[in-house]
């Protein structure tokens, strides 16, 4: 079951400021009252996008008309911390994001995103600041993430290296970001392991 390789992501970007943006912020728990992931896109960052009393849009970057078509989310440190809910990357993907560039990521969020073929790359604080300035000056700055060579480039001279665990890079570019088939294929080894474990 070969999957489509993910070698790059490109589009315009939006910067969401703040460290430790948790998965409750990305998708508040009340929207997890569901039995499918359908329809989660409209609730991404809901409680910071809308005033809870008036229902009106806040000044959150996702409400900024200049960034309404952004498909690359740019953030700070420890993005996606907290709850293991896959609803978080699901809601970002369904909102229209195809990749995330951040200083660092929480581990469970990172794995969940990779399994959904959404590349998450790590950039230095300095480069995030430059990228932020670039899109602030020119919101339609096209950003390209080269997953294979771990580079981010823009239409406008800014180019820098990014990091990604080798396993995630390989999984994306080789089209095995969803490991289910490979796990299933190792059935004999699974059975052998199970036999060796006293408690199984």
């Amino acid at each position: 079951m070969a999957l489509d390789p993910v070698t790059q992501a490109s589009g315009t970007g939006v910067f969401i400021p703040g460290a430790d943006i948790d998965t409750d912020r990305i998708i508040p728990a009340r929207f997890m009252k569901c039995v499918t992931f359908d329809g989660l896109g409209e609730f991404a960052f809901y409680d910071v996008r809308f005033d809870s009393e008036t229902g009106e849009k806040t000044n959150h970057p996702l409400n900024d008309e200049r960034f309404k078509d952004a498909s690359i989310l740019i953030a700070g440190v420890n993005f996606g911390c907290g709850s293991s809910r896959e609803h978080a990357p699901q809601s970002l993907a369904k909102y229209g994001f195809t990749a995330v560039i951040a200083e660092s990521f929480a581990e469970i969020f990172y794995g969940n995103s990779t399994t959904l073929a959404m590349p998450c790359v790590m950039a230095s604080a300095e480069n995030i600041t430059k990228l932020r300035a670039a899109i602030e000056a020119k919101p339609d700055t096209k950003i390209t993430i080269d997953v294979e060579n771990l580079k981010v480039s823009t239409c406008c001279d800014l180019e820098f290296s990014v990091k990604m665990p080798e396993s995630a890079r390989d999984a994306l570019i080789s089209g095995r970001w969803d490991p289910i088939q490979e796990l299933i294929d190792n059935d004999a080894a699974i059975n052998e392991r199970a036999k060796a474990l006293h408690y199984v």
């Binding site: 430790d20 508040p28 728990a29 910071v48 469970i108 794995g111 399994t115 665990p165 999984a171």
Partner: protein, 474 residues
């Protein structure tokens, strides 16, 4: 060179190496609940797959269960989610502890109670507080829904091996300082992202003296420090706790116990990092901001953005203070509360309610405070009843509820309203975490929650209760 417990468990559960370099890891025990499992079963059906080892998955409902009347779901979607897990477990042959079983509760309370949680095993669950089970010397961690599917279909997942950081805490805690303060202190020291890429081994004489319940409180919040899993080495206390429990091999107990103990880290084990903390430096700790690492001693002031060392830190403090509606540079003691929540997988066990009950006799919850006490499981609830605890709580003005996650994440009807401020024994103070988009959370130990409920504001429990004779950790 010897091996750490992490290495021993990892090696004994390694199925092989996958094409992308990750390990295919066998998951000995899988726990599922109503929120993160229905989509996984949906994927399983779409792919035409079965559950490979149905006897190794255990299910219950906890996140959305109402605590006033457990069997009346709050809305049609809650009812549908409960029906979905019932049907999924039934269709695929998975053990399900339903409301009538008498065994329902928060998965991280139920697993140890039933003896499903055992040393030297791997435990996964679509819930980030799965590290709780690490208290027993298991490698336990949260997974996403696609991985829940992977475990159901293959009993394995793809996982990158973690590094191991040994956090050694030695010495005696001061009176009025609890396991909750220990983990809040560790997270404050190492940061909310300090544990990324690590498993935490909690070691040193403090953890050796801790009860199993206290160890669970500490391991529970590993993820709040960025560590996906955290554990304490198994010892005689671990073995004694598990003996006689339903899912333990009690017929071959000696052999089983010996095997469990053999997983403990060797004396000459390698650790990627070691951090040492003196137990005497730990104070009753409360949070003031919107991340669990925003902890301060109850006697400290809320940070002042003017004293921040970097512009990023200043912006971060300002964002947190604006959300919390608290002035920087002023004492946290005295901050008014509206709600007090006692419960959750962090602090919802018998020992927590027992400890609070010792001090609240003769006191009353302040008039303007809504205080709820929510046992972590139906069994905890029964144990509390047998000891007459609900009466003590009710007498003091608490509402005594039925088992569930309740106001920790407010997926059931227990929610903050507007910008209410909650003194909470739970684990997260994120924006909106307790059910209102503007609700505010101050994390603290159960005894500190009780003190705040009585005074109507965040307060130093040591000044209200006589805690001088008590040492949480014997």
């Amino acid at each position: 060179m010897g091996k750490s417990l992490f290495q021993k468990v990892w090696d004994s559960h390694r199925v092989g190496t996958l094409g992308d370099g990750r390990t295919q890891l066998f998951i000995g025990t899988h726990l599922i609940h109503e929120v993160t499992s229905p989509q996984a079963f949906g994927m399983l059906r779409d792919l035409g797959l079965k559950v490979k080892f149905p006897q190794r998955t255990f299910a219950t409902i906890d996140h959305i269960v109402p605590t006033e009347n457990q069997d009346q779901p709050a809305d049609p979607m809650a009812a549908e989610m409960i029906e979905a897990i019932r049907k999924n477990c039934d269709d695929f042959g998975v053990t399900y502890f339903d409301l009538k079983s008498g065994k329902q509760g928060i998965l991280h309370v139920v697993g140890p109670e039933q003896g499903i949680t055992q040393p030297g095993t791997t435990i996964a669950c679509g819930d980030s507080h799965t590290a709780t089970h690490g208290a027993f010397g298991a490698i336990a961690f949260g997974i996403g829904t696609s991985q829940v599917r992977d475990v159901l279909a293959t009993q394995t997942i793809a996982l990158q091996e973690m590094k191991v950081r040994r956090i050694e805490v030695n010495g005696d805690l001061r009176p009025g300082v609890y396991a909750k303060d220990v983990i809040l202190h560790i997270i404050r020291q190492l940061g909310a992202n300090g544990g990324i890429g690590y498993a935490y081994e909690y070691a040193g004489d403090l953890f050796e003296r801790m009860s199993m319940e206290e160890r669970m409180t500490v391991c529970n919040m590993s993820i709040e420090g960025g560590a996906r899993c955290g554990y304490v080495n198994p010892d005689a206390k671990t073995v004694a706790y598990l003996q006689g429990r339903p899912y333990v091999d009690n017929d071959n107990f000696e052999e089983t116990a010996a095997r469990w103990l053999s997983f403990a880290s060797d004396a000459d084990a390698h650790f990627d990092d070691i951090v040492k903390i003196d137990a005497a430096d730990i104070e009753p700790t409360v949070t003031w901001g919107i991340s669990p690492d925003a902890g301060i001693s109850i006697t400290e002031n809320i940070p002042d953005p003017l004293n921040a060392s970097t512009p990023e830190e200043k912006a971060s403090i300002e964002e947190a203070l604006a959300y919390m509606k608290l002035p920087g540079g002023t004492p946290i003691e005295g901050v008014k509360i509206d709600v007090a929540f006692l419960g959750s997988c962090t602090n919802g066990r018998l020992s927590d309610f027992r400890e609070v009950a010792k001090y609240i006799k003769g006191h009353k919850v302040a008039a303007n405070v809504k205080a709820i006490a929510v046992p972590g499981s139906q069994i905890v609830a029964i144990q509390c009843e047998q000891e007459g605890l609900p009466e003590i709580f009710r007498e003091a003005g608490f509402e005594w509820r039925a088992a569930g996650c309740s106001m920790c994440l407010a997926m059931n009807p227990d929610k903050l309203i507007g910008d209410q401020l909650c003194a909470s024994s739970s684990n997260r103070n994120f924006k909106g975490r307790q059910g209102s988009p503007t609700g505010r959370t101050v994390l603290m130990s159960p005894v500190m929650v009780a003190a705040a409920a009585i005074k109507g504001h965040v307060t130093d429990a040591r000044n209200l209760f006589d805690l001088s004779e008590t040492s949480a950790v014997a």
